[in-house]
Amino acid sequence: MSAAATAGRPPGGPRFGRLLRRNAWTLGTYALFVAVMIFTISIHPDYGPFEVQSLVVGALPLAFAAVAQTCVVLGGGIDLSIGAMMAVANVLAARYMLGHDFQTALLISVAVLFGGTLAGALNGLIALRTKVPDIVVTLAMSFVWGGVALLILPKPGGGAPDKFGELASGSLFTPWIPNGILLLVGVVALVWIPLRFRGLGLALYAIGSDRTAAFRRGVRVGPTRVFSDALGGFLAACGGLALLMSTGIGSPLAGTIYTLSGVSAIVLGGVSLAGGRGGVTGPIVAAFVLTLVPADLILSGTDPNLGQVIQGVLIVLVVMAGGLAPLLRRRAPRTTDETGVAAA
């Protein structure tokens, strides 16, 4: 390492600086959330538990969709059927939970989650076996699942026991922390934390970063791909159930928008669409930002139709800002990159 490289580092040691640099985007997403939150409170001074609750309930399905897509994209894939899988999970649960008690509803949820996992794995298996690109397979599957959802429930209907809805909207401890947030954190922690610290998680990042190199390192690329797709299916089913919790009825078309808004959330949350880079907290926070912004626009009296435009502009601006950082680093003299070993 030459002196020039160390001089440019922020105080607090090279490791701290590098940690900051590697997670800059995620931290930026947090900052964006805080900024939007401050803006919200400034135009809505009596922001209280009810608003927090409606934000969480509103953001929950998108947050699950974003985490689902994150799992797939980190492994170098893409899943365009997440919204449709959410719709199927949603109508299945709504149709069979109607008129049953809470215990039965939970059993049905387990079955739906299992089905979602299988559907996700199916995406992966088809792409792997037929060698058709996953973007094509999942696009086709999104039509299949979209049709299945309409077959199960041709128009909005069904329902769920009230207690099921309270899994998202109720509050176990204080009204400031709705159950939905606990549910989200719980599910993600259950799935993500074991993954992050195990070989499988490493393998997931490895195949997303460079498939050939990962194969040569000894990663079993095929099974890892199927696993990431199955995980995506599981979380999409979670999203479908969350949608039922927040609306109380099943709707065969409500799920479909979550494919693309989920992609928006992961882009905003710092996950590289090329795979291998990003985490899971960024997309979750981004899902909250994307839910909060349209609500703010309504509160501030802006034409709601303008909301879409502003969301789009926001995404482009954030991604541009994210692309700026490596560019600035490249402009700086790069003495270490070329000489590395010789200097060391």
Binding site: R216, R217, E338, T339, A344
Partner: protein, 497 residues
């Protein structure tokens, strides 16, 4: 026999990459695998390491047949490889990469010391480390699994001389411990100095095994090239017919004055029309920055570039091409549209130049492309997609595109990296012809013996400066090496005399 293969074959669709690969490696030997580009060396290695599975043939280890469905299984059986292209996952740290292969720190630490890598920060992302370091790390990791057969696929092609020496040291140690090493290299001197025997491949089949102790370079070359081609190859030196050159009107084609950019510090020189000017430097001495500035890839921080006497500022490679400065980069993948055909690749800059945005005149396009292909003798059997061509043929395509388009100054950045002797000869012949017809050529090469073959003059760069200028006569490998290590102009001149 420790490792043996019999009749290994692999084809990708209609393209046969290897038809009959026979190899036998004894315990305690360093065995070279040689052959022209596209002869099937890399395919054979990939079959040995489980990267791809063979269509036919057997691999025997200790006389027992083995199958490797994945690199992990080959590693477990005792075959570890360091690949030509780095195979560390770029977005993971080195530590994480080691965890993927199950390499413990205890196992790898002695090898990091052996390869003098103790100072490398293993918590860096692989992407952020320089390529030579990654190659050595890859090697250290392969060694940590204590393979019985270590396979080095063109490892030294991207390594500067001092780092290559570390690799050779390890290979010799491996042999002394009764283990084996398979080396793939195009550098004949390297092979002669390091290896015991060589297996030669031609057109996908093993054509002979040579004892390097007792046989000469010519024997290997003639095996590599086949009976009919061997007569074409001429002895060293005759590539350059320098007498003709002096007839050309010697005007400066490009003048560089006080150029600064990246690690370049105040570089000045003049490139004449009708000459091939060599640039020699160890890895990372500023040669990359120089070529980036000249080809319009980067704007210099200071200094000026004069083309035909007029100062130019290149904001984009398009500007440089417009001024007649065209680049042949080291990385073929960077220059070519891998999915498109040979024709389209060669015609691309031509089409871009058309003032008329109408239909492409495919007749004249085809004629010009054809003549460029003929001149460079490009093997166009797999021409529908450039990615299916061998490395040497891909490199010829990048040169052919400029021949078809026309240019004043050709900038070649290590154009013969990882290319076989015959293709090298052809490329140098074309460079000489271009110079003879009045063009200027700036040639950076990492293979110092080639300076005398192809160049009229050589500049040596060290630490971002031009530290020596040598005539072709004085530019012996020893003199270049001394200068490239920054040993001073006087010392270099002394070594030359």
């Amino acid at each position: 026999m420790l490792l043996e293969t019999r009749g290994l074959s692999k084809n990708y669709g209609a393209v046969v990459a290897l038809s009959s690969g026979d190899l036998s490696v004894q315990a305690g030997e360093i065995h070279a695998l040689m052959g022209a580009n596209g002869a099937g060396k890399s395919t054979l290695v990939k079959l040995l390491t489980g990267d791809v599975t063979p269509n036919a043939g057997v691999i025997l280890l200790d006389g027992r047949e083995v199958r490797f469905p994945s690199p992990a299984s080959a590693r477990k059986a005792g075959l570890a490889s360091v690949y030509q292209d780095v195979s560390l996952v770029p977005l993971l740290t080195i530590v994480q990469n080691l965890r993927l292969t199950g390499t413990t720190m205890e196992a790898i630490r002695p090898w990091l010391e052996e390869l003098e890598l103790e100072d490398v920060d293993l918590t860096e992302l692989a992407r952020d480390l320089p390529t030579p370091t990654l190659h050595l790390l890859d090697l250290a990791q392969a060694l940590a699994s204590m393979p019985r057969v270590l396979i080095l696929d063109e490892v030294t092609a991207t390594l500067p001389a001092d780092l290559s020496e570390r690799v050779f040291r390890v290979a010799r140690r491996w042999r002394s411990e009764g283990r084996s090493v398979v080396v793939i290299s195009h550098r004949m001197t390297e092979v002669k100095a390091l290896c015991d025997r060589a297996t030669v491949l031609r057109d996908g089949a093993t054509v002979g095994v040579v004892d390097l102790e007792s046989s000469g370079q010519e024997e290997i070359v003639s095996l590599m090239l086949g009976p009919e081609a061997a007569s074409v190859v001429v002895s060293e030196g005759s590539v350059a017919d320098r007498e003709k050159v002096s007839k050309v009107d010697r005007r400066p084609a490009v003048e560089v004055r006080g150029l600064r950019s990246g690690i370049l510090q105040d570089v000045s020189f003049t490139l004449q029309r009708g000459e091939v000017l060599g640039i020699v430097a160890l890895e990372g001495q500023g040669q990359a920055d120089l070529f980036e500035c000249l080809s319009g890839n980067r704007r210099p921080a200071a200094g000026e570039i004069l083309v035909e006497g007029k100062a130019r500022r290149f904001r984009h490679p398009h500007d440089a091409i417009g001024a007649g400065l065209v680049l042949v980069p080291a990385d073929r993948a960077l220059a070519l549209l891998r999915q498109r055909s040979v024709l389209e690749n060669i015609a691309l800059p031509m089409v871009n130049r058309l003032r008329n945005w109408g239909l492409i005149n495919s007749g004249s396009e085809r004629r010009r492309v054809k003549s460029a292909i003929d001149r460079l003798e490009i093997d166009t059997r797999a021409q529908s997609r450039v990615m299916r061509l061998s490395g040497g043929n891909q490199q010829k395509v990048t040169i052919a595109r400029w021949l078809a388009t026309g240019f004043m100054t050709l900038l070649c950045f290590d154009p013969t990296r990882g290319i076989d002797i015959r293709t090298k000869e052809q490329i140098y012949k074309v460079l000489r012809e271009l110079a003879a017809s009045g063009s200027a050529v700036l040639l950076f090469t990492s293979e110092m013996p080639e300076i005398q073959l192809a160049c009229d003059r050589a500049l040596v760069m060290y630490g971002g400066r031009v530290v020596a200028e040598l005539s072709a006569h004085d530019a012996t490998e020893a003199a270049l090496l001394r200068a490239a290590h920054g040993l001073g102009r006087a010392a270099a001149a002394e070594a030359a005399s």
